[in-house]
């Protein structure tokens, strides 16, 4: 979708519409751990998000679906503080994320959020336990403690015997489970997953998404999953469909 070639007045109109759409104050919804309000994001002339409101509760899994290039990943990146919105607000547990500077958002991502990517993006040079321990070490934990926690987390995702193996020596499903362990090891409030099963076969994909949602929500973390896969979405509590940068549908899933 192209960005409308309107002046500031029309943008103001859009914003006015979004203000009307904004249905609640974040402070009034304590159970909502992550929320976005009136999110607008442009890429040059192209509209990434055209006014999105979203909220996720602790222990809830939200699937974000929709056609390619319609704003799913942009929404994930904005909610995760990777991108800042041009308009709108992002709140994480009572803290406004979009107004933080880059360094503060970096710390916030490291301490309070977890990430799982489609192609796992593990460091090929590091064995599984060090891949999982790395965020903890970056945060100042000693190597011994970080590795200990990492191995414990790997055991919880069924990889106790693979801790010393490198990503290149693991199967796709195993590597993705390492990525899940890395995402969860810091005990995040929200785990973001961008097409986490996109590179896996159906059976392995089902196992991985069950593990991700089960392990995260069991700890009280919210999960936001961007996916094209209906079977993945069906495992979430709620499905939000994004079309042309807007929320097209926001319904409870059949799980």
């Amino acid at each position: 979708m192209r960005r409308p070639v309107h002046g500031p007045t029309n943008r103001g109109l859009v914003r006015g519409k979004l203000v009307i759409m904004s249905f609640q104050s974040p402070q009034l919804a304590p159970q909502v751990v992550l929320s976005g309000h009136g999110l607008i994001k442009y890429y040059g002339d192209v509209v990434g998000l055209a006014g999105v409101d979203v909220g996720v509760r602790s222990g809830e899994a939200l699937a974000v679906m929709g056609p390619s290039g319609n704003g799913k990943s942009t929404l994930l990146h904005v909610l995760a503080g990777i991108l800042t919105p041009d308009q709108g607000e992002v709140w994480l547990g009572g803290e406004r994320v979009d107004q933080l500077n880059d360094a503060a958002r970096t710390v916030l991502r490291r301490r309070r959020l977890g990430f799982v990517f489609q192609d796992n993006q593990l460091l090929a040079e590091l064995p599984a336990d060090e891949n999982v321990a790395l965020p903890l070490m970056v945060d100042g934990l000693s190597r011994r403690d970080a590795i200990g926690r990492a191995r414990n987390m790997l055991a919880q995702v069924g990889l106790a015997n693979e801790a010393g193996r490198r990503p290149g020596e693991l199967s796709g499903g195993q590597a993705q489970r390492v990525a899940i362990a890395r995402a969860l090891v810091g005990e995040p409030q929200v785990v973001f997953a961008d097409e986490p099963t996109g590179a896996l076969d159906a059976t392995t994909g089902s196992q991985v998404i069950d593990l991700l949602i089960g392990a995260a929500t069991h700890r009280g973390a919210a999960v936001v999953v961007v996916t094209h896969d209906n079977s993945v979405a069906a495992r979430c509590h709620r499905i939000m469909t994004i079309v042309d940068g807007r929320v097209h549908e926001n319904v409870g899933a059949t799980r």
Partner: protein, 548 residues
Amino acid sequence: MNPMTDLGLRFVRRPGPGGRAANLAALGATAIVALLVTFLIAGSLGISHRSDRIGWRGADSADAATAIGALHTVDGKKVDGKPLLQVDLAILKPTNQPPPPGLDHLPKPGEVFVSPEVAKHWASLKGEFGLDKPTGVITDKGLSSPEELVLIHGVDKIDSKYPDYVASWQTTAMDGRLGGLLIAVAFGIILVLFPLLSLVGQAAGVAAKRREHRLAALRLAGSTRSQVLWLSAVEQAVLGLAGAVVGLVGYVVLTPLIAQIPLGGGRWFVSDIAPPWWAVLIVLTAVPVLSVLSALIGLGRVSITPLGVVRGQTRKSTTALRLLPLLVGPIALASLGMGAAIVPLLIAIGFAALAVRILGPFAVQIIGKMMANLANGPIALLAGRRLADDPKAAFRPVAALVLSGFVTGFISVFMPGGDDDPIWQDMRIGVALLMGLVFLTAAASTAAGAVGTALDQAGPAKALRRSGVPLSVIERSARLAALVPVVGVGLPVVGFGALCALALSGGQIATEGNSGILLLIGQVVVGLVLVAAAGMAGAPVLRKASAN
């Protein structure tokens, strides 16, 4: 057009994300290779040209019975406070030969031909020779350098017991000083050869991982091994040729500056060091061919096991067998000794330098493992694992710099003192020039390597940044991974270079004063500065390539 040729050319024109930086780095590195190769060829030829013009002055090429002339060099004269070369020349028999280069006729007794620089100061000499002005001014064709202070004095007979007898005024016999310089150049070429080859490999290998993945994808899509290799060859040949052209143009532009180097008896005529057409042809052919060969050797693994590369298969470890070549150089040099012929000496020194190149990755692997195992923070852990995981790739960018350590260590044993002997002066300038060449090579190689590494690491670095790992941690680990091989391998290699030189000299240190120590300290400082500079070259690329 062959579809793979077309695809290869398209990859050059539209290289994709990060590809432009990779291509620019490869082109820049190749250009420096071309520039240095041109310099070495044209410089060697320049020495020969210079010798051809003045060879007759020092030639003792005949006996008294057959000689057409006799010469004697008068020592100790000065003009304007600088040493003046006065050559007394006696004609022994008439010939049909043209006069010596730069003179319009053979000087008769009492006639004096002088270089332009001497002509400017003739007032201080005219009393001695009884001439208001010199008989003639020697043209460029008879001078070693534009500023040469030389005077050819016609005499009846040579006032010396041991004159030099000349068989021809056009002799091409090598001038003694310039002959020594040519041998020194040969040593220099051997010492700069491996850094230069490392740079060729670096230029071809920049963004190697990116290319590996692309070509492995082509293999998975059904391309044959030969098609994949051909595509890479086309891509690298275009970049290599472009780099060679840029390097040649750069050399031509720099020629007036290069001509200012006062080596082998003064500054140079630009025409002396201009590359002939065949040298241009060699550079335009050899540089792309070497680039292509380097790229193809580097891609051998992709062609054979495309699946392995796509999945990031663990690489084979290097083994301790790499230590063995270390013994060959010193033993060979010790057995040859200083009196040996030049060629075996050159081969032995080449072996020693090659051993450093072979040993480097093994040493990097050991250091990397130790670092990773002892690390208590993410920076050392990342750097150590990166070094241990692919020590060849880690060593490649700094190979030239490490080899410069060998050169420094070797030369530091033979640094002359501060006297006015022109041979020593040549040697000091030659060492400075050699180190300049090696450091330029090392700088280009290190910078190209930093760009390549940054591009290779872009994907994981992007994921780390998204996950909340600060860019500074990623950059510092990259800098550490570049610095450790330089310090951890480079410093011992300086010692190995000195050991080889001592083996050659039989334990004698020819260095006078503290020039050797200064050279070693300079090497360390320059090495560290280069790594820092290389980090600066890689940092913006990493920042951009890993940005969200």
